[in-house]
Amino acid sequence: MKAESVTQHNPSTRPKPRKEFHKLKDYTSSYLFVLPALSFLTMFSIIPIIYLIWLSFYSYSLPSPPEFTGLGNYTQMLKDKLFIKSIGNTLVYTAGSMVIGLSGAIAVAVLLNRKLKGIRLFKVFYFLPTITSEVITAMIFLWVFDNNLGILNYILKVAGVENPPAWLLQPGTAMLILILIGAWRGTAYNIPIFLAALQAVPQSLYEAARIDGANAWKQFWHITLPSIMHILVYCMVMSVIGSFQVVAVVDILTNGGPMDSTMVAIKHIWQQAFEFNYVGYGAALSFVLFPFLLFVTWLQLKLSSGKDK
């Protein structure tokens, strides 16, 4: 890289001014290509982060101007029971939806990875949850899980369950529903990715295993899983980043309740900053999550670029 910036002429001859000027013009036009996009990224990604860090050391409630509080916001956090709870809930949600979502996607991808008539059509339909917004998804499930008229409890009653649970009104089951919806979306998203990974596994490996008399389960365990391991790790990371920022589904289904059992990180931040007007505190809360998510994202980029042969 550095060599590029050194002018290419022989130092013993004097540089031709015309060529120098031409080179400069050359670079200027190159910079013009990246300038617009980079201005956008600077303005809306880099500056906001600096501003966020600055805000996190101030106490700021509109309409009065920000007041410096040093680490006040950060010590506040340690006393904020809801903050601790929201982090805990987010971790539970992330772990739950990730485990179900990934194992579900692998299972379905294995099922899809064969030649059958009409298999493409199944694949096309399986992807639908991914392109439907979280808001719409949440609305549909709110209706499915509705206490009085929800279809699910009707089916349960027909199946002989005396008193089906009021799903969204009890802490444990409310979180379970959120996890299932996250897993539903996650599975749909990951199926094509795993399918592509499965199709890249050399068939000769399976043939050799069959000759050795390995059954289907053994083949999966010793051939399939190791072959898709790097994709699995990549999907795990993506899943963590996505789940950690869950908010729309929570807003519509439970609004953080019952008894704060589904209060999640982003919702907590949003509430503090925009509903209770503690802007500086909201900024500090955002900033505390940053290192964690940055680390996960960095890991993801590392993994996805490391695969390029």
Binding site: L128, V135, I136, F194, A273
Partner: protein, 284 residues
């Protein structure tokens, strides 16, 4: 032997249909609820098919609610953001992939770094930046198309994805074009863009879809009903009519339909794109 195969296939189709039911069931239930009258929804036991198709709900969506306006807003926001992203990100990707200039790789690292920023954590500072933007009145860009569109228009991911694809084009083409007297912009416009239609289309679809489905940012800066995007309007609407399930489901159906239609029309593109995303976009 043949009989065994038939049984085996039957089991596979059964399992595939079971999964299909899990993914499609909720949608079917949404549509079936949307075409019932409220009276029928209240009836017990529930029936899958309505006694007679009741289209009134969709009419009410268009006449009584602010969803049409929100639809229009979402369309404008998604479209303009997509155009900005495709154009500016492809220009930058072209420079990063095909040109040499001092600091190129450092600048690309900056682009990669912006990809790592979780959007959910940016909402607080961005809101106050939009509010205090100079020369834009007391509320800045709050409650405006500008504020809805600009902050998340250009994505590092789009630059990254396009650069990956632009790199795969042989360098000789550029050299030949330069000899023929083409400028850099002409190379970009006449050679690189036409040869990379699939990835450009993919970036366009994903930009559009992301903005159409976006929730947190419009929720934060759309203050008045006139500026609600479809997702925010739906949420407000659901709170307002929460006992009128057929109407709510008709609203959800109306909002979901454009993307579902788009998905089916552009099916091959989606298929190409998604398999590649998991492998860093190499096989797009």
């Amino acid at each position: 032997m043949k009989k065994q195969k038939i049984i085996k296939n039957f089991i596979f189709y059964f399992l595939l249909s079971l999964v299909l039911f899990v993914f499609l069931g909720p949608y079917i239930w949404m549509v079936m609820t949307a075409v019932k009258s409220q009276g029928e929804v209240m009836m017990w036991p529930p029936k899958i098919l309505p006694a007679e198709f009741y289209w009134e709900n969709f009419l009410r969506i268009w006449q009584e609610t602010n969803l049409p306006r929100a639809f229009f807003n979402s369309f404008i926001v998604s479209l303009i953001a997509t155009i900005i992203n495709v154009f500016l990100a492809s220009l930058a990707a072209f420079a990063f992939a095909r040109l040499k200039f001092p600091g190129r790789d450092k600048l690309f690292l900056v682009v990669l770094a912006t990809m790592m920023i979780p959007t959910g954590l940016m909402v607080v500072p961005l809101f106050f930046m939009m509010k205090n933007i100079p020369f834009a009145g007391p509320d800045g860009w709050l409650d405006s198309y500008t504020g809805l569109i600009l902050p998340f228009a250009v994505t590092g991911f789009a630059i990254f994805l396009m650069r990956q694809n632009f790199l795969a084009i042989p360098k000789e083409l550029d050299e030949q074009a330069t000899i023929d007297g083409c400028s850099k912009f002409q190379i970009y416009w006449k050679i690189i863009l036409p040869l990379n239609k699939p990835v450009i289309a993919l970036v366009a679809i994903f930009s559009f879809l992301t903005h159409w489905n976006e929730y947190l940012w419009p929720l934060t800066i759309a203050r008045s009903q006139e500026m609600y995007t479809i997702q925010i309007a739906l949420k407000a609407f659901q709170g307002q009519y929460n006992i009128d399930w057929p109407l709510v489901m008709a609203g959800a159906t109306t909002a979901a339909l454009p993307m579902i239609i788009l998905y089916f029309i552009l099916q091959p593109l989606f298929e190409q794109g998604l398999g590649g995303l998991g492998s860093g976009g190499k096989e797009l």
